[in-house]
């Protein structure tokens, strides 16, 4: 992270602050000259107040020096005009500067603590924890270049794979289930990478708050909250997508804030740097999880607000405005889009071997994967009677027509054999095409080949069970308005409900049917319904495969269209088919559709206890990362309750303060300049952060998919930043009411110290949650966590 270019007003630290306060107070009460002189004498660093320019400390660190140069070049790291305006007599308070070394030292301290807390006991436990089983496995897939399917975009897993590759992990560990020991495999590289990104969150948050509130205590408070939150620590220590997501998310927020504070010198190098960094981080966030969309929204809203402001600035010509607009479009739309697409290009380029994810994608896509049976495929081109085929549903992520020996349970339509759609390749996906009226053995090599034509009436026999594809007027198991589809008959003899008319979309009668290419519709002859896949997942009795129905509503959707994928017919010559190679854009679209499907398919099952969004801010229930029993090494993802409840209370407090401030301003109450600045921080900076919190939290209430506790952590980052800003403002406000400066300073410093000590002590209490507990459960008095199970719903 490059050192940020310094903003104009530097945050006051304890001592400097009180010195500023004294004269200001006195000036209000008795504006006498001796007082003013006294103030001047005591001004920090002996510098006088320079109204147009923030005072600079004499000690010049390199970063400071460069900033100064930038200031000279860019014209001004000055106050924006609005803040310069207030009438300031000769005795106006100076822009206070902190003691020269405070800020970088604070940043260094915060970063150091953050890294120490995240890297402490990183190797423990040396077995697979929670979702490492997924993401570690996916990292391995990248190393082995096998194709897989996941509901998240690829960047996060690619980075994990890369980290593993660089640190010498060879991709051979199977990551089968949580609790498997890593043994000799090198897993620390991947964990270390995640921990590294997770550690960066703290300095990011620190800098963001510093930039927004110009207050060192606020920034420090935020940093301490994040450093000592057990939840953040735990989530950063394992091979998960969350630290990567949050890294990009905070990166985007930080660069956005930095870019905003460069607003007074647009098109300068640092402005461009932060603007494009925002774009890059957005692409990163979107590339890890779709939740990144929320931060895109946040930045988008901020940009619109920004542009609106610029448009109202009449000193700016329309041409200049156009330049501003163009720069943002370029950096915040085109740049991220390009990066995002590039990510997928790399993803598809790396994963070029057939793997477990093939079945989720269309036949055309599969033909590109080395090792897939459609790769350089050579099959008989036209469908003939007696052919053995698999049929794939044409909806995105549609499955293969499938059947197995199991029957529909009692009460679900007729008790006949189940027919489903199945996403994986399997022998039970094979069907034989037969004529509807004759039962001659077509496998006899001497019989003549007869092709299937558009409009023919056929029978489909399931190869493994010799039952015919059958439908009748019983209601389908889930989609009650459709008809049930079953396997019926013995050894291929069924009844007239087994007849289906085969039609190709957009063809005339009599034409042949091509494998892979033709889009086929199967119409049930007796009832006139169309074979389709509803996309709903069957309950346990159906092995959670996808429902297949016969729909009487003849709507033209991909749900009711199929194509033939495998085709085996020994009597026909195999022809090398050039399957239509899908273009990159098509692949991109398809993989997104599949991901979205997959995401919305993660529905909670009946009777399953799921985490609800309202549980999260109150820290109602954690997640078990590792270990169940007393002898296990147990890690439990749970926020530090003191910190989380502090955050929760602060949100309420913040609302109160905001309403009070807004109403006061609207009523035209005269505020002192100090209070004005305070209210600006509360309304503007706090508002931005609150918006971020809302955007990362509220949408979960509308999501139908299964939710987990860790989904709240991005919102928690915002909540923590809000806590820092709010408490700082609140303490300043309270201190402002106390007249003797010493008391005010004591109140302010004491309040701050109390909060920090509270956080430290609670971390001391709860640290075993992150760093592991062995021994009796918390309910047992001899446990280290005894007495700390404050809520019954916590399980440690």
């Amino acid at each position: 992270m490059a050192p940020p270019s310094p903003p104009a007003p530097l945050p006051p630290a304890g001592r400097a602050r009180s010195q500023r306060r004294v004269p200001w107070r006195r000036r209000r009460s008795s504006p006498s000259r001796p007082a003013l002189r006294a103030r001047r004498l005591r001004a920090p660093h002996g510098r006088d107040c320079i109204p147009r320019r923030a005072p600079r400390p004499a000690a010049l660190r390199p970063s400071m020096r460069r900033a100064r140069r930038g200031a000279a070049r860019g014209g001004c790291p000055r106050m924006p005009p609005r803040q310069r305006e207030p009438r300031r007599g000769p005795g106006a308070p100076p822009r206070p500067a902190p003691p020269a070394a405070t800020r970088p030292a604070a940043l260094a301290l915060v970063t150091l603590l953050s890294f120490a807390s995240r890297f402490h006991r990183l190797r423990e436990p040396p077995h697979v924890c929670w979702d490492e089983t997924h993401f570690g496995k996916m990292g391995s897939y990248y190393i082995n270049r096998t194709f897989f399917f996941d509901v998240h975009p690829p960047l996060g897993k690619m980075l994990i794979g890369l980290a593993g590759y660089l640190s010498g992990y060879d991709g051979t560990f199977p990551f089968q289930k949580p609790g498997d020991r890593y043994e000799q495999h090198n897993y620390v590289g991947m964990r270390g990478f995640c921990a590294f990104l997770g550690s960066c969150l703290v300095p990011f948050a620190y800098l963001t708050v510093l930039e927004l509130s110009k207050s060192l205590p606020a920034a420090l408070l935020t940093a301490f909250i994040l450093i000592f939150d057990t939840g953040c620590i735990t989530l950063s220590q394992y091979i998960l997508l969350d630290p990567i997501l949050m890294f990009f998310l905070m990166g985007a927020v930080l660069s956005m804030v930095k870019c905003n504070s460069c607003a007074d010198r647009p098109f300068s190098a640092s402005w461009w740097f932060w603007l494009s960094l925002t774009g890059v981080s957005l692409a990163g966030a979107m590339g890890v999880k779709f939740v990144g969309l929320f931060v895109v929204l946040l930045v988008g809203l901020n940009t619109i607000y920004d542009l609106w402001d610029l448009l109202g600035n009449l000193s700016l010509s329309l041409v200049m405005f156009g330049k501003h607009l163009l720069a943002r479009v370029l950096c915040l739309i085109f740049l991220p889009l390009a990066l995002y697409t590039a990510m997928f290009a790399v993803h598809f380029a790396v994963l070029n071997r057939s793997g477990p994810g093939d079945g989720f994608f269309s036949s055309a896509f599969q033909s590109q994967l080395i090792g897939n049976n459609l790769h350089n495929v050579s099959v008989p081109e036209h469908l003939a009677y007696g052919s053995v085929v698999t049929m794939k549903n044409l909806r995105m992520a549609g499955g293969y027509l499938h059947s197995h020996w199991h029957l529909y349970p009692e009460g679900v339509g007729a008790r006949q054999q189940q027919v489903t759609a199945y996403l994986h390749k399997d022998l039970n996906n094979l069907w034989i095409i037969k004529k509807h009226d004759s039962d001659t053995d077509l496998s006899d090599p001497s019989s003549p080949v007869e092709f299937v034509r558009h409009g023919d009436i056929i029978r489909l026999e399931h190869k493994e069970t010799s039952r015919n594809l059958h439908s009748h007027q019983h209601e389908a198991p889930l989609t009650r308005k459709h008809f049930q589809v079953t396997g019926y008959g013995i050894n291929g003899t069924g009844d007239s409900n087994d007849f289906w008319r085969i039609e190709v979309v957009g063809r005339r009668t009599g034409q042949l049917i091509k494998v892979l290419r033709s889009q086929v519709r199967l119409t049930h002859v007796a009832t006139g319904c169309v074979l389709g896949s509803s996309g709903k997942t069957l309950p346990k009795w159906g092995w959670e495969q996808v429902e297949v129905t016969c729909t009487p509503y003849l709507k033209e959707t991909p749900n009711s269209l199929w194509n033939f994928e495998d085709h085996i017919n020994p009597k026909l010559p195999n022809i090398s088919l050039d399957v239509l190679k899908p273009s990159f854009a098509e692949i991109l679209l398809e993989s997104h559709m599949v991901m979205i499907r997959g995401n919305s398919g993660l529905k909670p099952k009946d009777n399953e206890v799921t985490s609800k969004p309202w549980h999260w801010p109150i820290n109602y229930q954690g997640l078990r990362f590792s270990g169940v029993n007393e002898t296990d090494y147990r890690v439990y993802l749970l926020g530090n309750p003191v910190i989380w409840w502090l955050n929760l209370v602060t949100i309420g407090l913040y609302l109160l303060i905001t309403v009070a401030t807004a109403v006061a301003l609207k009523r035209g109450v005269q505020l002192t300049s100090e209070l004005k600045e305070l209210s600006r921080v509360v309304l503007h900076a706090g508002g931005q952060i609150t918006l971020g919190w809302l955007l990362h939290y509220l949408p979960f209430f509308m999501m139908g998919r299964v939710l987990y506790f860790h989904h709240y952590f991005p919102a928690m980052l915002f909540s923590s930043m809000l806590t820092g800003i709010t408490w700082d403002a609140l303490l300043k406000f309270c201190a402002g009411f106390l007249s003797p400066s010493t008391t005010a300073r004591k109140v302010y410093g004491g309040g701050f110290l109390a909060l920090v000590l509270l956080i430290l002590y609670s971390f001391y209490l709860f640290h075993p949650l992150s760093y592991g507990m062995i021994g009796p459960m918390a309910s047992h008095p001899s446990s280290p966590m005894a007495g700390l199970r404050w809520m019954d719903s916590w399980e440690f």
């Binding site: 308005k481 009777n607 609207k666």
Partner: protein, 749 residues
């Protein structure tokens, strides 16, 4: 009637006006009593036309039309006072429909089973359809008034009313026993009263009419929400508008803090507290009306069922309240999903090996059984004592007590142990213990935890207490897994001991439903006792709030399966009206009724909305650069009209994209009503501000007239499908199929 031209002043008695306020008290002695009435004839005419268009031959067709089949059954249930739960919305709309039935003297005896079925003679079709038709008709004058209150010209207001009048879809929807027209009426009423209130605000705060309109806003809002939850969105819109207006008042330095507070309190009272109270009162009336048990009973908890006449109450009346050692009880699972069931056991044992090769304990099965059965009875036993009868005085079981549960018929003890359950291998098997003399000791102690307790010494109460059974040895919790067992378990539901009990879930809670104090120590006698019904006579009632919370919760959480319907559509289809709904088809002729909008109006409404959006954006950007195209007051008008009409459209339409339920075209009607109101707004704006010359103005007026005749023409063309008469020939029907996606029914000859 206010603020419009073309007024006829009908003066009944002429006289000079009162001059002095002091004279008023005794004025009637000096002067004759005078009533001055102004009647807006156009408004009256619009109302009459509205009534005519909606009430004309209301009884036709005398058959069940579309969703009447759905709402009709609720009307019948109201007439018979039988309790039901309808998850589609709150009860106020249903009650209004039932009011129609009540006025017509309907006895509720009609089988609502099929669309198109002829009504029998006892069904008062006219009164049943009257209220929705009246509500639909009154929307016409309401539209006029809303535009007038938005300070648009009489002409624009007239246009809006006529467009609503000639909107085929609104007519169709109003003429049958359906809720949308009532909903639209209340929505429009709420908007109108708020506008009236707001216009009075400037001159006469806290006057009588100010209060009247403010209160009416709240009342209309809660009625709208009470009819359908869709009304909530308009309510929110009005709350937001009120909030915005109040925010401007805060900035007004002329108002003192006290009067500001008064204003705030008045609004909070009228717009929040009164609507909430009214909403509660709908449920109060609903529950007061429906006191008999009925087909939906089993959705509710035992306590609720017991409060209804008949049904469970007949069984549970007079049961002892406190469960004591020796009590005979049935235990119902609180979740009620996938179906209600009771803890059950029978002599069959778990198979030694399951299909997948896993082994079991081979002890007696424990399941959850969805029917009443003698095998559902259990006896609460004190582990320290042998007796199975209730001592005198009874020793009640309290929270935290440890008990054994004895199965009444087989006298085996409820047990769980470290054996995987048949279908949920992560949980423990629950069985009734059979001692096979192998190293598997009985572990049959359970701790009773009352979840909804008030104190830690609460007594376990029949029906009221929701109880968790925690196994003493393994701290597993007795839970309904929801899976149904295979053949060997008679497809009953699986019960397991959940070790990883993740917090609170209803599947782990049980409540005592039937209960009596056991008296027979002998097994034979006890069997007889178990077979006999419970009897004793004390009744017990739930408070209204408890009933309300439960019913409200059930309405909100009860999920009908999202089924595809032949006429269901997606929200995107509505804008362009790519879909229709066939409501009714004459059994023999081609006469039919469709929900089909006026194509001309819908297209114009879309155009108007688009134009409004573009113009607003244009003005807004230009204003930001300090270029003012239109005068400030015209801009305020334009924004206000857009906020109400465009906002109304947006809040009533956009939420459907987030909903995961079956959607129909009629869901769009509230939104389209608002969209139609936008047409005259845009037209007047165009003529006032964009047609600069007189020539342009008159050309524009001519265009508007031509366009309006087109609207009228389309209305006439489709009116056979709106009113269901006259019957059209197949060729005519085919000609009406203007879009390929419309589903117009043509009989094969």
């Amino acid at each position: 009637m206010l603020s419009v031209s073309q007024r006829v002043t009908a003066v009944l008695f002429c006289s000079p006006r009162f001059r002095q306020a002091s004279d008023r008290m005794l004025g009637f002695l000096k002067e004759p009593v005078v009533v001055t009435a102004k009647i807006n004839v156009s408004l009256v005419a619009l109302t009459v036309m509205g009534l005519m268009s909606r009430l004309w031959r209301l009884c036709y067709p005398r058959a069940v039309v579309f969703d009447e089949v759905y709402y009709g059954q609720f009307v019948s249930l109201y007439m018979k006072r039988i309790f039901f739960v309808d998850d589609s919305g709150p009860p106020f709309g249903h009650m209004l429909l039932a009011l129609g039935g009540y006025l017509g003297g309907f006895d509720g005896n009609f089988l609502w089973n099929r669309i198109g079925a002829e009504y029998s003679i006892n069904v008062p079709v006219w009164t049943l359809r009257l209220l929705p038709a009246l509500a639909g008709a009154l929307c016409v004058p309401l539209a006029y008034q809303i535009l007038a209150e938005l300070h648009f010209s009489h002409c624009a207001a007239l246009g809006a009313a006529l467009l609503i009048l000639l909107e085929n879809s609104l007519i169709t929807q109003s003429r049958f026993m359906l809720l949308e027209s009532i909903l639209i009426f209340f929505i429009l009423l709420a908007v109108l009263s708020y506008l009236k209130f707001y216009n009075l605000q400037k001159h006469s705060s806290f006057s009588g009419s100010w209060w009247f309109w403010l209160l009416l806003t709240g009342v209309a809002c809660s009625c709208a929400v009470g009819v359908k939850y869709m009304g909530l969105f308009t309510y929110m819109l009005l709350l937001a508008t009120a909030g915005l207006h109040f925010w401007h008042m805060i900035g007004d330095q002329n108002l003192s803090n006290v009067s500001l507070l008064c204003h705030f309190l008045a609004r909070a009272l009228a717009l929040i507290i009164i609507p909430m109270g009214l909403y509660l009162s709908f449920f109060y009336v609903h529950l007061a009306l429906l006191y008999r048990s009925g087909p939906h009973d089993q959705i509710m908890t035992s306590a609720f069922q017991a409060s209804l006449e008949g049904g469970l109450a007949r069984i549970t009346q007079g049961q002892p309240l406190e469960v004591a050692y020796g009590s005979q009880i049935t235990l119902r699972n609180v979740l009620g999903k996938p179906m209600q069931c009771w803890l059950h056991s029978h002599t069959n044992t778990y198979p030694i090996r399951y299909e997948n090769g896993r082994g079991s304990s081979h002890q007696q099965q424990v399941t959850c059984y969805p029917f009443k059965d003698v095998n559902n009875w259990w006896i609460v036993k004190d582990p320290g004592m042998q007796q199975l009868v209730v001592s005198n005085p009874p020793r009640p079981v309290r929270h935290g007590h440890i008990v054994q549960l004895v199965h009444g018929i087989t006298t085996r003890y409820l047990n769980t142990h470290d054996v995987a359950a048949p279908l949920s291998p992560h949980s423990q098997e629950v069985s009734c213990y059979i001692d096979y003399n192998i190293s598997m000791p009985a572990q049959n102690l359970w701790r009773v935890e009352i979840v909804n307790r008030e104190s830690d010494t609460d007594v376990w109460k029949t029906i009221l207490s929701e109880v968790r059974f925690v196994h003493v040895n393994t701290s597993a919790v007795l839970k309904l897994s929801g899976a149904s067992l295979p053949e060997w378990g008679y497809r009953q539901l699986e019960v397991v001991g959940e070790k990883l009990s993740k917090g609170y879930h209803q599947s782990m809670l049980w409540n005592v439903e039937e209960h009596r104090y056991g008296k027979s120590q002998e097994q034979k006698e006890r069997e007889v006792e178990l077979h006999s019904p419970t009897q004793m006579d004390i009744s017990k009632n739930l408070s209204f709030m408890a009933k309300f919370t439960e019913l409200q919760w059930k309405i909100l959480t009860l999920k009908n399966e999202d089924t595809e319907h032949k006429y269901s559509s997606s929200a995107l289809d509505w804008i362009t009206m790519d879909t229709n709904i066939a409501y009714w088809l004459h059994p023999t002729s081609g006469a039919q009724i469709h929900l089909l909008g006026n194509v001309a109006t819908w297209a114009s409404a879309n155009a108007a909305a688009l134009l409004y959006l573009c113009l607003s954006l244009w003005y807004l950007l230009r204003r930001r650069r300090r270029i003012y195209d239109i005068p400030e007051d015209a801009w305020q008008l334009w924004m206000a009209a857009g906020g109400i009409c465009g906002g109304g459209w947006a809040v009533n339409y956009l939420p459907f994209f987030l909903m995961e339920k079956t959607l129909f075209l009629y869901h769009y009607l509230p939104a389209v009503t608002f969209q139609i109101l936008l047409i005259p707004v845009v037209l007047q704006h165009l003529s006032d501000h964009l047609c600069r010359s007189v020539l342009l103005k008159s050309m524009f007026s001519a265009l508007v007239v031509a366009w309006f005749s087109w609207v009228y023409f389309v209305y006439c063309t489709f009116s056979p499908l709106t009113y269901g008469q006259p019957a059209l020939a197949p060729a005519e029907l085919r000609a009406l199929r203007w879009k390929d996606t419309w589903n117009i029914l043509i009989r094969k000859q």
